[in-house]
């Protein structure tokens, strides 16, 4: 198929020729796509290429000159902080994926059962879960900081005191803080898993469950042998998307912990930010950004393959 449908002179009477030519140019996608292409090229594509280029230099925010080198990769990969950054990132991303998927699936199943029985109040619960996803990330971070605070206004510790348990250092214990941040991210992101998995559930034919019921299957067996296998593609898409979103999360962790205590909650996104705006090391920040980009790219390819499998 050719890219443009050209209207030839034979299609039109002679006096319509000028108009026909104009119409032909109008039909070319180039001009239609140009504005958005420019916007994305200038503010996205070019910076992406630049970040790769800068990662192969020794540029800093303090010097205007730089030379090409692989040293930035070497020093980032040899940095003694890197294993800690990986650890925090893996806990944050894997914890978010597992938590959001499990909770999202539970909610999706509950909503489906509730809607089917036309129970009142189900819709309200759905809207509240969705609202947590829509509010600005910084507001979520502040909300969770107030909940997890060890001061008088901290909700969780007030609850623990109520049942005579000793308070917990949710955000100032360097081993616990990353889990607290992950919990906050699960709260914020579960709605997305709920939407994706709920949509997945709708594609399963009710006749399968009716047949299973006739055969005397228990609810658990129906879930295990019908729901889970049929939900496979939706689960995969959900896992990939939640991984990407969690990996890119900055505006939740930054206000909640700032990467601390120590550097215990410094996930990859925060490490990239700190390298540039804290240590003024453009090149090392770019190396970390390239690492993020590569992981995102890999996940997007998995996502693309998975969603092709869905079709």
């Amino acid at each position: 198929m050719t890219s443009v449908r050209v209207i030839g002179p034979e299609d039109d009477p002679p006096d319509g020729m000028r108009r026909a030519r104009r119409r032909g140019r109008d039909d070319h996608p180039f001009w239609w796509l140009l504005p958005v292409a420019l916007l994305l090229a200038i503010f996205y594509l070019y910076p992406v290429l630049e970040v790769v280029r800068i990662s192969f230099t020794d540029a800093t925010l303090l010097n205007s000159t730089y030379a090409y080198t692989l040293d930035s990769y070497r020093s980032v990969l040899a940095d003694s902080a890197l294993p800690r950054i990986w650890m925090a990132t893996v806990i944050f991303v894997a914890g978010s994926v597992i938590g959001q998927t499990a909770l999202g699936l539970l909610i999706a199943l509950t909503l489906q059962a509730g809607f089917r029985r036309r129970l009142p109040g189900v819709r309200t619960v759905q809207v509240i879960v969705l609202a947590t996803w829509i509010i600005p990330g910084v507001a979520s971070a502040i909300t969770w900081q107030l909940l997890l605070s060890e001061a008088s206004y901290g909700f969780f510790n007030a609850m623990l005191r109520q049942v005579s348990l000793s308070p917990v250092a949710w955000l100032s214990d360097s081993r616990l803080a990353i889990w607290s941040a992950t919990l906050a991210n699960i709260w914020r992101g579960t709605a997305l898993s709920m939407i994706l998995l709920y949509a997945g559930l709708q594609t399963i034919s009710p006749t399968l469950y009716e047949a299973a019921a006739v055969d005397g299957a228990t609810a658990f067996q129906a879930f295990r042998y019908i729901t889970l296998p049929r939900l496979g593609p939706a689960l995969l898409v959900n896992i990939v998307i939640v991984s990407i979103f969690s990996l890119n999360t900055f505006e939740l962790v930054m206000p909640l912990t700032g990467g601390g205590p120590g550097r215990s909650t410094e996930v990859l996104a925060l490490a990239a930010y700190n390298a540039v705006f804290h240590d003024f090391n453009l090149a090392q920040g770019s190396v970390l950004a390239v690492l993020m980009l590569l992981i995102n790219l890999g996940l997007t390819i998995v996502y693309w393959l998975a969603s092709r499998g869905l079709r």
């Binding site: 504005p35 958005v36 996104a269 969603s307």
Partner: protein, 279 residues
């Protein structure tokens, strides 16, 4: 099935719904509760959602703060300009994706969506550098253009869905009568597609209102900051000393997003999961 057994079957469901509701609603209720407390009641460590003497004084105080009003104004300005530019740039492309046949259309459409997988954080280093070279750091224009670029993919997808819903016959009739395609687009398709355009504009404004990374990196003067970064600074300045004000400021910052969401629920959910839920 009798109504009695139906009711009994509903019990585990209501249990599950209650657990879900508490996990998701309690944090927001707590924020709301702190925002209507007196400074003295902030210091009482007990689980009480409704304070002893609720007050709206905190909201009054926050809204009297000139700097906070500036944050709100800057946030509105940046997100509205960003959304307008995003919609204006995306509309012709969405129309082309909806109506024209050309090679690589599907691949291009997914490539546009692919930009959404790249965090603004990845591109911040070059962005900061060349925005500085163009003197576009500490500039609302520069920041709004980046807002527009971030919102452009989602705007393209949702506008395309809107144009898909408009029957081709209407503009084809106009083109038979001698209208060029761009005239048909401007005079016929856009006016009919106005509701979809308006929804997309509101959605991208909402996303801009939440945008944090872009202004956090490109703007630093207090008078320039939008609400998202503004409440982050509020947090640093007031936690501990005036937590009730931080809570009130946060409530004010999330209110516009929640109101827009409540009005446009299905549209918002559809737009934000575009691509993932397309068969």
């Amino acid at each position: 099935m009798s109504s009695r057994t139906r009711w009994k079957e509903g019990i585990p469901l209501y249990l599950a719904l209650t657990v879900i509701l508490s996990f998701f609603a309690l944090p927001l209720l707590w924020l709301l509760s702190l925002s209507v407390r007196t400074p003295a009641e902030i210091l009482i460590a007990e689980v009480r959602i409704v304070p002893h003497s609720p007050t709206l004084q905190n909201f009054v105080e926050v809204l009297r703060n000139q700097q906070f009003l500036g944050y709100l104004w800057n946030g509105a300005k940046l997100s509205i300009i960003g959304a307008a530019v995003a919609c204006a740039a995306a509309a012709p492309a969405s129309y082309a994706f909806s109506r024209l046949q050309f090679r690589g259309k599907t691949q291009l459409l997914f490539a546009v969506l692919g930009f959404q997988m790249i965090s603004p954080l990845v591109i911040m280093v070059p962005l900061y550098r060349y925005m500085q070279a163009l003197r576009l750091t500490e500039s609302h224009l520069g920041a709004a253009l980046v807002y527009a670029a971030v919102a452009a993919p989602i705007a393209t997808w949702t506008l395309k869905a809107g144009f898909d819903a408009i029957p081709r016959e209407i503009e084809e009739a106009a083109m038979m009568d001698g209208c060029s395609r761009s005239q048909a687009f401007l005079r016929i398709v856009l006016p009919i597609g106005l509701p979809g355009l308006a929804s997309t504009f509101i959605l991208t404004t909402m996303l801009g209102w939440s945008q944090f990374i872009v202004p956090f990196i490109l703007l630093s003067q207090p008078g320039m900051l939008p609400i998202s970064v503004g409440i982050f600074n509020f947090l640093g300045a007031y936690t501990g000393s005036a937590t009730q004000l931080v809570a009130a400021a946060s409530v004010l910052s999330l209110l516009p997003a929640v109101v827009i969401f409540l009005i446009l629920q299905n549209f918002v959910v559809g737009a934000l999961t575009a691509g993932a839920l397309k068969e």
